[in-house]
Structure formats: C-alpha cells, structure tokens
Symmetry: C3
Subunit: 673 residues, 3 copies
C-alpha cells in the first residue's frame, strides 16, 4: 500500500531550469507568500538531463530538488519523457511519429514519440530507471508524474507491425479477424496478417470536413481496433515507466495527467494502471460550469476515488481562440468546485510564466512582472491560505451518488466513426445533456464504466449506448430486474464490440429490457424538428434523430407530434422485473428531457443532496467527520443560501451562516452537516 | 444485336457472401414476397473469388448463381473489379493510386485502382475472362455490370507516362502542344514530351478553398486535357472488360453504373461504349424533384434511350450529412418518376442491409430486423406488385421532346477551372436553372450533347456554353437559320477546345448568331445585384455576372436598371435566318428567366405534354401502344388531376379517374392516352 | 548616380512572345493612341531565351526590343527568372521548392525556385549576365525589373543547411541560440547546429485553421528567424541579379515589383538594396480607398522616395473571388491617387490580354476584342493624355508628412505567430485603423520603419509595437523627451527581438515612457465588448483586448465602463520630457480612436494639408515648383470643392475652379498652390 498525500497539495508546474538561479530564491519566497506547498518539476527536461546519448547529467535537477526540499515543498517529480530530445530524433528518426497523412515528422513540438519505437522505449526505460534510483527515496518526492498529457496517434511501420501482433493476440486467426471486421464488405478479405494496414488517410480514411483526430473511416471496425491498439500502445509506455520506477520505489504514488473527455485514450482502462488519477482542467471562456463538473466526475469515476487536479490556469490560457481572464473569485470558485467533485490537490500550470515559447501568454502564479502585487497572486494566496487551513479535513473523503451515467470510450469512438444517420451526433454532447439535468438538480452523479457495479445506483443513464458488448445487456437486465431504473434511448444497442450490428431489430440486446422495437431511425437536418407530446398534454421539441418505435410491452410516455410518424411513441417506459427502463427515442429539448428525467428520478427516489431546490451548485463529499457540503454560485445573479445551511458554520469564513443570506457570483460556502 | 430485357427488372445489389447460407433461403422467400425478380451480384467479391494471385475459386459464386436461378431470379452479374484485393496491393503497390497531393495510397476503401497500371489491367483481364467464360451463357444472367461507379483520379508515374503518350497521339508535335496549352504564358514552353507533368497539387494546382475533385489550376488547358485523359484511361478499363466479356459472350447487355452529373467522366463519350446506360440515383433530403428529373433526363440523353436505374435506396442513405427517411409513398413516387423519365429497371442498393462496414446504415429492402413486417418492406412489395403488373407495357418506350438542353463535360470542366470572373459560377447550377423552368411547365426535355442533331428540337438551350469547339458554331447557325430557337447567354462562346479565347470579341463564334457583342463582363459579389427591366415594364433581379452588351442586329428584350451600364441591354433576341437566338446576359432571378423562356417557348411553339397547366409533374413516354402519362404530386399540398385525364383508366389502381379528383403528396396516376 | 526617369512612364507588362508578329504592329499603333510610352518585357520568357541548358537564343527578344525602340517606347526590362523552365526542373529537381507540408514540388506555376539552390543561382547569374551584357546599354532600356513578385517559402534540405549557416553567423554559439529561442521550454535544447530543423508542418508547425502562409508555431522565435532567413535568402537572389547586372550596366535603375503589405518579405530591408521601389496594386472590389492610400504610403516610405506603380489592372482582375469591373473614372481616379501618394509611373498588368492561361480574364489595355473601341481603352487613352501632359511637372516631387506610423515586418511576424491572447488580432488591421483616421482628416502620413528618424515627425503612432528591439525604446524616449508625441497601446513593448518577454511588467521598455503598468490583458470574444468612458463624459466601445492598467505618472483619458475592471484606465496620456505618450489600452471603436487621436493631433499641432475639413481626399506632393494638391472624390455622393482651391487652375482641365463647385464620384482636380 502506497502512502497517500499527507496534505492537500497546492502547487503546480515549475520550470526553474528556464531561469537563472537568483530567480529560484525569489520563487521560494513567493511560494511561501502564496501558500504554495509543492511543485511539479522535470516535466520537459529530457534534453537537459540527457544532453547526448551517452551522457546523463542530474546536477541541475539535484539543485532544483534541493532548493524545493530546503524550502519545505513537496515534489511531484515528472519523468520528462513527453518531449523528445533533438539529438535523439536526429540520430534515430524512427522515434518521431508518422501522422495521419502518412508523413514522418521531424524534431519539433512535444508529445511526439512513436509509442512502438524500440529506440524510444529503450531510452525511456533507461532514463526512468536513473530517475527512480536517484530520487525515488527522497522524502520530499510524494508523487511520480509520468510523461505528460499522453495522446496522439502514430501511423509508422513499427506501429503497423505492432498492430498486427496486437490483432493476432486478440483474434487468434485470420478468419476471426475477417469476421470481426466484416471484411467481405467491399471485398476486403485478407488472407495474411501482413495484409493489415493502419487506417489512415492513405488507406481507409475518408476525406471530409472532420477536424484532425476525428476522421472518417470506411471500416469503423478497423479504426476502433486501431484506437484500442493505440491507447494500449501508449498505455504500455506508461506501464514501462511505472514498472521501472517501482523497481526502485514501491512507496510513492504514480500518476500521469489525463485530459477529461479526451477522445484518444480509454481512460477507464488506463486508470486501472494508475495509483491515482490526475488531470488538467482547461475550460474555455464559454464552457458551462455543469460541463466542468462533469469532467471532474468522470475523472473521479475512473477509479471511483479522489483525484489530483494537476493543472489549471490561475488566470488565462494562451491556446484558446479567446483567452479571457478569470474574473475575481472565479479561480477560487472553480478550485473549490474541483475539490467538491473529488480533488485532493489543486495545482496550477504554471508557477512562473515562461519568457518565451508558445505558452508565454499562459497564466501563472508569478507573472512576467515577477511580482506578488498582482490580482492573480493575491487570489492564489487567498486560496492557499484556505486550502492549507481546511484542506486536511477534506482530502480522502468520498463521493456517494445514487445516479450513474455511463461513459465509454469504445462507444465514443464507435458512435463518431459510424457513417450515418446524422453527422451532428456527437458522443460527449449527448452525455452532457443528461449530466446537465442532474447537475441543475444538485443530484450527485458518478460517471461510470459499462462494467460498473450498477447495483450501487438507483438510476443509471446510458445515453447513446451504441455499442453493447458481450455481457452488458445481461448485466443491465439484472440491474433493472432487481429494481433499478435505466434510462437509455436512440442509437443504443445497435452494434457489438466489433461495430457489427446486433441483428433482429433495434435496440438489439436491449430490446426486451426497453420493451420496444425501433423499426426505423429518421435523421433530421439542423433546420428541421419534431414535436413531442407528453401524455399529460405538455409539449416539447426534438430533433437530430427520431426513432420510430413499436411498443412491445412498454408504455408510451410521449409521442411525436408531426411527420409521418406523428402519434407514434417517442418516449417509453417499460416495467422489467422490479425496475423500469425509460427509452428516449429522440434528442429532446432541454425541457423535454427534464420532464422524462423528472419522472425517472421520482420513480427511482433520486433527490438533491440537500432535498431543497436552488440554483446554486451544492456538491457533497463524505468524510469520516461527516458530509461536507460545498455551496457555490456560478450564476450571474445573487442567490439565497439554502435554508438547510442556516445556522451552520462556514468553514471558509469561520462565520455562522444566516437564513436568507445572499451569495454573489463565485461566492463559496463550505459546511459540514 | 443483343437481347433486351424481357421484363422490367426489379431487384438490386445483393451480397449473400456476407451472410451465412441459412440467410440465403430466407432472402429468396422475402424476394418473392416483395416481387423482387432480379439481383445484382459479385460487385465486391474479387478477394473472395481470387484469394491469391494464382488461385481462383468460384464455388461460392456458383452457389449464389444457382440459388438465384433456382428461385427464378434474373441476374445482373458484376465483375467485382472495383475494389482491389489486399494481397494485390501488398504485392504490387503500383496498382493503388497516387492522389492529388502526390501520395501513394495503400490498401483500403474501393474505387482505388490506378487505371494505367499494367498489373491491374492484367489481373482485370484475367478475371473478367474467367467470369465471362463461366457465366456468360447462363440463362439467368441478363446483364453484365462492369466494375462499379467508376471515378476518381490517379497521379502516379504510370499515369504520367500514359498522359504523355495520350498527348503525343492527340497533338502530334511539341509545337502543337505548346500552342494548345498557350505555354508561352509564364514561360512554360516545353521542348520534350518528358517535360510534361501531371497537373496536381505539386505542379499546376493552386491552393484554395475548393473541395476535393474541384481544384484550381494555373493552366486550365493542361487540366482539361488531364481530365479528358483520365476519363479516357478509365474508359479504357471499361472497354478492356467489355471486350474480354464479348470474347465469350456476345449476347448479354453490358453496362456500368454511372452517377448523374458526376464531374470526373465524360459520360457522353462513355455511353457510346455501353450497351445500355445504368445509373445510381441518390438525392439528398433537400434535392428538388426537378433536379432528380434532370438527372434522369441526362442519363436517358446519353444514348437517347431508356436506361437502368441500377441503384437507389428504399429508405435512407448513410453517407449524406443528414440521412432522412423517405416518407411513405416517396420511394414509390420516386421510382415511378424514374420510370417516367426513361428507366426500364428499378433496382435498389441494397437488398439486405450489411451487418458492418461504412454502409451498414444504408437502407435496404431487408433491414437489420430481417423482417418483412416493416414499412419499407411493404412499400417495396407494393411497388413490386405494380411493376410486375404493368412494367412490361412500359419498357422500351421512348421519350419525345421538343426542347433540348446542352450538357457537356468539356464545358463543365473548363468553366469551373477558369480563374475569374466569379468564383460562384458553377456549371450544373446554371443548367439546372434552365431545366427547372421546363420541368415546372411539364415540357419534355432532352439533355443533349454538343454534337446532337439539333433539328429534332424546336428549342435548344445552351446556357454557359463557355467552350465552343470546332464546328459547333456552324452547327448552331444551321439550326437557327433553318427555324430553330436557341437560348444562350453570358459566358458562352468564350474559348475553344483548348481553353484559348476566341479572339475578336465575346461571344466569339456565337456573335453573329446572337447579334450582340459583349464588351465587358462584370462580376457581382453575393451581396450585390442588379435590376432587369423588361420592355413591357416588368422587372426582375439579376446578379453574379453582367455582360455589357452592344446590339449588333439583335433587339433588346430587357435592360439593366442600375450600375454604370443601367439602360444597356441585358437580354436580347436576334433573328437569324428563319429562327431566333435569345441571349441572356446575366444570371436572372427565377421569374426573370421564366419570362425570357416564356417568350422563347411561345415563339418556338413549345408546350406542355398535356397542354394544360398544373403543379403536378406530368411526364410522358411513348410506347407502341400509345403515350403513357405519369402524373405525380411532389408538392406539399393536394392538387387536382388535370382535366385531360378525367374518365381515363389509372393503370395503377385500375380505376377510372374522375374530374376534380385530388392527388395527395406522392400520389401517382398512370394513364395511356 | 543612376539616371532618373526623364518622363512619367505609362505602360505595363507586355508579352508579344505570346502573339504572332502581325499583332505586334497593331500593338504599337494602339499604344500610340493610348499614350502608352513604355512597356515591361521579358517577365516570363526564360524558357524561350534559354530553351535548353546550353542554348541561349535572344533573337525574339532582340526583335521585341527593336520593335519597341522603333516605336519610341521606353523599356522596363525584366530578367525572366521568376518562372523556372521545364527542362531545368526535369534535369535538376532541386531547383523546385519543398512546401510547408514537406513536399517537393514538380514543374508548374511560377515563383517556384528554391532560393538556396546553387543550381538555380548558377543559371540565374548566367542568364542575367547575358541579358545585361546584351541590353544594358540600350538607350531605350530605362529600368531593370528583376524577377517578379518575389515571395513564398522553401523548406528543402538546401534551405535547412543554409538556415544553419545563417544562424551560426547571427548567433555565433549554440548557447546563444538556445537562449534566444528559449529552447529549454519543452526541452528543446540543442547541442549541435545540425539539430536545427526548419519550422514547418513536420516540426514546429501547429495544425489549425490558419490560411497558407499564416501558420501557427510552437516556437515563435524559430519561426521568426526562419522568416528573416527566408526573406534574406530571397533578397540574396535579388542581389545576385542586381550585382551581375551592375557588372555590365551601372547606369540603369534596378527594381523588383513588391506587393504592399505582403507578409513574407521584410521590404524595409529589401528597399535598401533597390534603386527605386516598384509595386503592384490590386485592391479588391471592397477594399477601402484609405487602405489603398496606406499601401502607397508604405511603398513610398520604404525609401522615403517616389516609387513606380509597376502593375494595376485597367479594368478587372481574375484571381479574386469576385472580379468586379472598375467603374467609369475609377481607374483614372485610382491612378491619380497613386501619383498623389508618390508614384512616378503608372503601369498596367497588362497591355494585351492573354489568350490562355490562368490570367486570361485579367483586364488589359487591349482586350480580347483587340479593339480601341472599348470603354477601357478610351479611359486608358484619356489618362495617357493627361499623364503625358502634366506628368513631367510631378515626377520626382516629394511628400512631406508630420505624422509617421510605424510598420515593421518583425512585428508583423511576431504578433501573428504568438499564441494568445486573442486569435483575431492581426497586424495590418491594427495599423490600418490608425491610418484611416489620418486619411479621413487629410493629414499626410509616412509609413516608417522602427529605426526611422522620428524627429522629422510631430506625431508618431506605433500601434501593436509588440516587439521592441534593442535601442528602440531609447530612441522613442529621446523623441518624446524632445517634444514629440507618441501614440501606442495594447500589445506593445511585450517582447524583444527573439520573441522573449521583456520581464518586469508590460509594456516593458515602454513603461516609463507611457507612465503606466499593464498588469493583465483580457481577451474578448467577438460577441463581447466593453465600454469606454472619456473624461468629458462621451462614450465609445472597445473589444478584442483590454489592458488592465495602473497609472504610474500618466493621466487617465478614458476608463472602462464594465467588467471587473470597470473604472480603471483604458486610455492614458503621459508627459515625458517635453512631449507626450498616449497609451490606448484596447481596440477602440472608430469614434473612440478618433477621439484619442484628435487629442493627440491637437496637442502635437498636426493638421490637414489644406487646413479645411472635407470628405474628399486631398493629398499633396511638393515639387520644386510648389505644392501640388490632388483632390479626389472617393465617396458615393457629390462633394463641394474645398474653398482653398477656388480660383485656382485645375491642371487636368486647364479650367479655373469655382467656389462651391461639386465633384462627383471619381472626379479629380489637381492644383498647384
């Protein structure tokens, strides 16, 4: 059992190697002023600590570690393998990636290594071993941060060969592969493993309007397997570093920083290999706060455990189109929201703003002015004081939810690869629509994998559960039969794990559970919509896709108002064993979906964490000492404190809260009930 | 003389090789229920029937043919050469194409063979010979379907060499080539055939906003010749297969499925090599019905003969952005419209929906439910009953039109390659604007090539006849002099077959015929427009391009209302011999163009096929038994039956039609008058 | 000292080699009719005068020169090196460029030579020597026109090697390079010059939505140096030709035609190497006339001297999306505007319209009709008469301005490479906003380099002076201290010449001068804005970026009206020595910026060239004979002549101008006061 953090880390990325040493001492003083108690180092230093193939030089890193240790800071130690040294690419061009267009890249940027390059893996192992041997037992090193924001794809020959090996291991025989990928379609039958090619722009990739990383394919089955393979290949890089570290250091937590709903990697699979999840939170100026909350809940859901907030900006970003400043109080409110949803650390990118390079306009605790006399620094210091004061009473506390929303990378990939019926159907959009409902009601939600223990939840939502893999339908049937409430709907139950259709009628293996048959799926263009008529006479809108349903035991909750299927069911409810399945046949307007979920929640007995309506966000963590409630105002107007908190102590201010007390935008209260 | 079809084929693409054999028998039963009397097979089976270079295996195909034959189905037998087997690309990479960007492709997708690869041609010939030998005399095989949806481009070294040979054959000398391409411009003079390079992104291609397949070029002359060459190269592939088949089978019709106004291939040239034209009709959810009608008339016009509708979807597509369902009755109405415009077959893609691959959401007669209890199946069966009942009285019947609209791939290419004056000028758009007028009037139209026998028509429309090749002007002069009516206009008569300007003043060789000189061509941006004032005082709008005209014998029909050329002629009419030429100097609004065409039609004595106004589509085919009228409602409201049909028998229902009878949307009546 | 022009050249690009010789004589007659007194020849004839590696053939060029000489025309002789001959690319593929995507190009288009190809340079030198030897002393050759519209980039191996040499020369040591590029960021440290790679799509280029030539980069420092290197490499090509010519001809002016605000080349550096600046003026149909005026002022500013207008169209262009005709009088007014801003020649592209190639729809003096009976020809002839009549009294005259606006290619590159804060911030846009103010007031403006002699100006505007290089701040401080007025603002003083931030607080080295500290920079999305409240109570809007300012000696001119920094200064004025610095903290609306500049101009005593308000453009050149005023109406309504001109003689008409006389759109008056 590795040691947990002994306090709430407050720090972030720190790159003293970019600065002269007189600055280091200023930094230590400023960190103290700001309550910064830790620093993440060595994130991009490979070329400095290994300046040539045969030369390792840890003198500078030693000094950095010493400086931080002397200042009493805890250290998150990165392995610096996320950016290739120039000399390595020059000497071994194969370490660089081949892109989707088939072009071998040269030295440049970062996150640029081929995951299946034996040369890269050789150097990674060697470096990691030396780092772990040298710093693994350092008492200030409290966490290993492997690589950085793993991601991307490579389409080189080494990857192609590795893909064939991966496939052989998965499928065993050529025949099984042909069947899984339905290769008889378009006469793609293969007779030799070497006939497999990577699915990029030069093979199965279909030219279109898709953004990079979201390309179309002629064979979703191949491309989904490529994504699995690529995620596994990169995960194997992570494991290589982790295992190497653990040869020298069995006590320190190992993580790598994830990126929310990043499409490229199957984070549920990754999380199993990580001691603790950490992630980087970068909302845009117009990202809804509910979306940010969902990201946190997903990151917490990966291991169903508290996580590290490895990066956020104290002020603004640089790589968005419009990098607005965080307003006064916003960073603090955002940080407390992060803690509320399960974070045990608050860390910034970055502690000191770079002088050059493409991130020089990225916000930092210490700006280019080098001063503590800035709004940003003062806000960081205020939060530092608060976290240092009350953080210890929060870390390690759990989240208890009665609602689970399924999130699944296989589904993410498969749904977005599929050709038709409607190009505007995006996976995360649909998940977000559900999450928003629960968020607005302050119902605690877990984002859960498809193999979760559903019995922990009173209600499980599975929107666009397009791919239903072996065993999933049975598990859901057991869950509902034993009294659970399942909400699913259009584009669910369509394909198996190889993206081949479950024959016999949609929603395939979910048909009995839902008590309906979806005979056809209509696609609506953006300018088109339909009307939804609930049985109580209320109306709502819908669009994008419209299932044409036949009741097979289910009852109708709402019907379509127009088109040739006017009057046929649009939303249904099916009793199955002791539970119920709701099936939502179209993309409903917000009020329409809310109505369905109101019904489902009422039936399942799911309620707000405070049993009181409010437009404030109220989020709960459960510690040994009791339930900690975080009350936050993310709305543009003042809002009254829920009555349940009247007379309780606000941990932040130490004051007793009053009945009718108003919270302004970004105000936060924390109370233990 | 090859045998014509003995009945109206009703069937479509069928891929039993993707299914276990127990499904085949279900299929035969379902086909019977649906009135399906034929199937198109072996479209993408190359890799199955030739699993390795030295191995041919026809056992499965034999079984498929037997199964269909036993079930009494006619067979359209494809040659399966439209998708390369994986082993071939692996062993002979040259069979794959090099794309516009200069990138050699790997194995993947379909329609992927270099047309000038000797290796590909070798294997094609070998395979086709074996197929023809084996199945050519099978009594159920009624049509050869060569390859599939030929198209695309290749820019490989083999193509480059073949292009030089093609050019040498066409031009004879380097001097002639330099002159044709005007290579002195920008000092492009060449002195050796080997200095010719293919015009792609690495040579003459100009980077811009154009979509793939519609790229810009520095030398339209080179790029037009490349398109001609590429069309010829692929046509040579077709001829290779056709000739090989005919060595074994001189009796069966040979076709390949075309794609309407597809830009890449000169279909008029292709049709000369085909026994019968067949094509695939895939309107989008928002394609006007007039456009669909025009596509059919173009496909009929290729050989001025009935055609096969090789593919359409019974329900929805998968590759459009928004794949809406066909509404009840829509597929039936669309099918009858197809027959009305000259189809002698109605075939679907596809008979059974695939379980995987990128077309798994493409509609099919038998859906994933595998059931006949679907709306789609019932509609297919209804149509099957009708076609089987009355189809025989229609097949082979002709279309007689008094209006011809010129369509010409050379013009299509040249107009869209040219740089300036207005990037929004698109060839098919302009043709469509004319067609819509005649369609709305139920005037029968032929789409005709530039070397048509114009004397068959009372009115010939030649919009944007940008390229006037050798002899064309004389032919048009003869036509008008002998009493014909020609309607042409802006951007006509500009260049010769090499895209070099006809000097001396626009519209070049059409100047005498039109009796005007276009001194200048103004280009209007999308937010700009001009006004058109007709001599009778009515007004209309115009935009995009405005010719500034001088009358040279013509009379003014309308003048511009604004800009510095306000008051100068915008539309003119010129008496030439016994006939008249109308010249439309700008892109007129729909009502403006209608006014001009009203005048021209009145003068030419062109009228509706029923001599009665109606918003219904009424289309006529002439059989030995008489004129068959197809009356169809594609409007959103009910419309009364034209009086001419009152008291006549509707072939579909067998009922006598009544005066004032209303047709709902998608209702169809068929009567022989 | 080379000879200046002895008259105002009136002519343009002339390509008789594209035409049979009978046309040449027609051309000479038409030139006479139009007052054309010169022609630019041999622009794209390399493949004709050097048809093979060992063969030079000047017979045709001799004839062209003779023909023009006999007709009494002056000759601008181009060197024809701007388009590679086909044979050269075939034999030496390295002469063609490798593009941003890393693709080696083939023969095609123009402006296509690798500037660092020894082969290309060898052939260029050889050709230029022969041309100079042969024609250098020809009395009709009055100007050498080297190459054509130099531009573009190459990323080949030769360029990569040359870049390393360039860097070694600039930086001396690897350590200096690492520091300048801040390579410790993302661990990019290099230890060997050979580790440097060119910054393209395969290395530091960041994929995004940027248009070609405007790509994003991970290391602005590298990419800015690449741009400097590329500009220098191409300039070295220019110098090679110039020096070669001068070995044979020391008397004739040497130029190359520039392209206004073209981003790729540092024209201030280029102009130092040119005897006279020439440029090509191609406004779009919707380009404001103020922008055209600014382009001229920039071109004049390059050498602070009169320039040649090498190309403009007499009627329309072909390569714009919408190539509208110039309206009657527009070309004449545009030409006089050009002269007003410093042109000593008026030349067209082109004298005769090509028969083929991508510019066949580009306007010409002689159109495809080959006639002088066209509107365009008549307008050209009218202008020819005027220029021949009064041009001599104008050429060589100077421009005197009290306002200088800084324009700097280093800033242009750096500002647009930088990642954040707002992607919509574009360099030329911001300069243009300032220029428009002075233009609307008829205040004469010089566009000046950052190392200009500021003391010549009463007011210097330096918008977005993002990069403040060594010495610049001191120079500006001297200027203001001695009484100058400086207007600068947001995104100024941020980085040094290597794109590394000036630490210590924005605007870095300008902080004392401006008397403010910009603590933060907010970025506003397009749908967002702020309000500006001036101290006199008036209001305006602002957006895009908002500096949050602290006064450090400056006084507040205006403050923000909303957001969390409402009430803080948005515009300030700082007394510094005898002068003042205005700092504009946000992108103000037009009226807001005008208000600030009104204040600054009033203070600095800057006034209109006529001391009278008018919506007409009034622009002044100073000749030995006095001040020549050009009065032009570019507005859509009639406007009265300013009173100062009443009673003066209009040089164009020879008439005395009257009080209250109205000028219609495109009317021009020229008077000497």
């Amino acid at each position: 059992m590795k040691a947990k953090f002994n306090k709430m880390l407050y720090g972030g990325d720190y790159n003293p190697e970019q600065w002269p040493k007189d600055v280091w001492q200023q930094d230590m003083e400023l960190f103290d002023k700001a309550g910064i108690n830790s620093a993440t180092i060595n994130v991009f230093s490979w070329a400095r600590i290994q300046p040539a193939e045969e030369v390792y030089d840890f003198r500078e890193l030693d000094e950095i570690v010493d400086t931080l240790a002397k200042a009493g800071k805890q250290i998150v130690l990165a392995t610096s393998t996320a950016a290739l040294p120039a000399w390595m690419v020059k000497r071994y061009p194969e370490v660089a990636r081949v892109d989707y267009e088939g072009r071998r890249h040269k030295f440049g940027q970062r996150h640029n290594a081929c995951p299946n390059s034996p040369v890269y893996r050789h150097f990674v192992k060697e470096l990691t071993a030396r780092l772990a041997e040298r710093y693994g037992s350092h008492e200030h090193v409290v966490c290993w941060h492997i690589n950085n924001e793993y991601g991307g794809e490579c389409y080189c020959e080494n990857c192609e060969k590795a893909f064939r090996v991966w496939l052989r291991k998965k499928y065993g025989t050529i025949e099984a592969l042909n069947k899984a990928w339905n290769l008889t379609f378009w006469g793609h039958n293969i007779y030799d493993w070497d006939e497999v090619v990577l699915p990029n722009a030069l093979s199965e990739g279909i030219e279109g309007e898709e953004e990079p990383g979201n390309e179309k394919t002629a064979f979703a089955g191949i491309s989904i397997d490529y994504r699995r393979f690529n995620s596994d290949s990169i995960l194997d890089n992570f494991r290589l570093e982790r295992d190497t570290i653990q040869q020298y250091d069995r006590d320190t937590l190992v993580t790598t920083n994830l990126m929310g709903t990043y499409k490229g990697l199957d984070y549920f699979k990754w999380a199993k290999e990580m001691d603790i999840v950490s992630w980087d939170n970068y909302p845009s100026y117009d990202t809804p706060w509910s979306t940010v909350a969902m990201w946190h809940d997903l990151m917490r859901g990966l291991k169903n455990a508290p996580f590290m907030l490895m990066e956020q900006t104290p002020s603004q970003q640089n790589w968005q189109p419009y990098n607005s400043l965080k307003k006064p109080g916003q960073m603090r409110a955002q940080s407390w929201q992060t803690v509320a949803h399960g974070a045990d650390t608050i860390q910034f990118f970055q502690l000191r703003r770079s002088v050059g390079g493409c991130e020089k306009f990225h916000g930092a605790v210490i700006g280019h002015a080098g001063s503590d006399q800035t709004r940003v620094f003062r806000e960081v210091a205020q939060l530092g004081e608060e976290l240092n004061r009350i953080g210890d009473s929060i870390i390690g506390s759990k989240t208890e939810s009665k609602v689970g929303i399924m999130f699944d990378w296989d589904n993410y990939w498969a749904l977005e690869y599929t050709s038709g019926p409607n190009k505007d159907l995006k996976y995360v959009d649909q998940i977000t629509r559900y999450y928003e409902y629960f968020y607005s009601k302050n119902m605690s939600v877990d984002l859960i994998p498809v193999d979760a223990d559903f019995s922990r939840y009173d209600l499980v939502a599975a929107p666009v559960l397009y791919m239903v893999k072996e065993g999933m339908a049975k598990a859901l049937e057991r869950y509902v039969a034993e009294g659970g409430t399942l909400v699913t709907g259009f584009m669910s139950g369509i394909v198996n794990e190889s993206d081949n259709v479950h024959l016999g009628g949609y929603p395939g293996p979910l048909r009995a559970l839902a008590g309906i048959w979806a005979e056809e799926i209509d696609a609506l263009a953006p300018e088109q919509s339909n009307e939804i008529l609930f049985t109580d006479g209320t109306k709502a809108c819908c669009g994008l896709l419209c299932d044409i349903l036949h009741l097979e035991g289910a009852e109708e909750i709402a019907r379509y108002g127009s088109n040739f299927y006017a009057g046929t069911p649009a939303v249904t409810k099916n009793a199955f064993g002791k539970g119920y399945t709701y099936y939502v046949g179209s993309v409903l307007s917000e009020d329409g979906l809310a109505k369905v979920l109101d019904l489902a929640c009422d039936g399942a007995g799911v309620a707000s964490v405070i049993g009181e309506e409010t437009e404030l966000e109220v989020t709960r963590r459960i510690s040994d000492a009791g339930a900690v409630y975080f009350v936050m105002n993310f709305k543009d107007q003042e809002l009254p404190l829920p009555t349940v908190f009247a007379g309780k102590k606000d941990l932040l201010s130490g004051q007793t809260m009053e009945e009718g007390e108003m919270l302004g935008k970004y105000d936060v209260r924390i109370a233990v009930l």
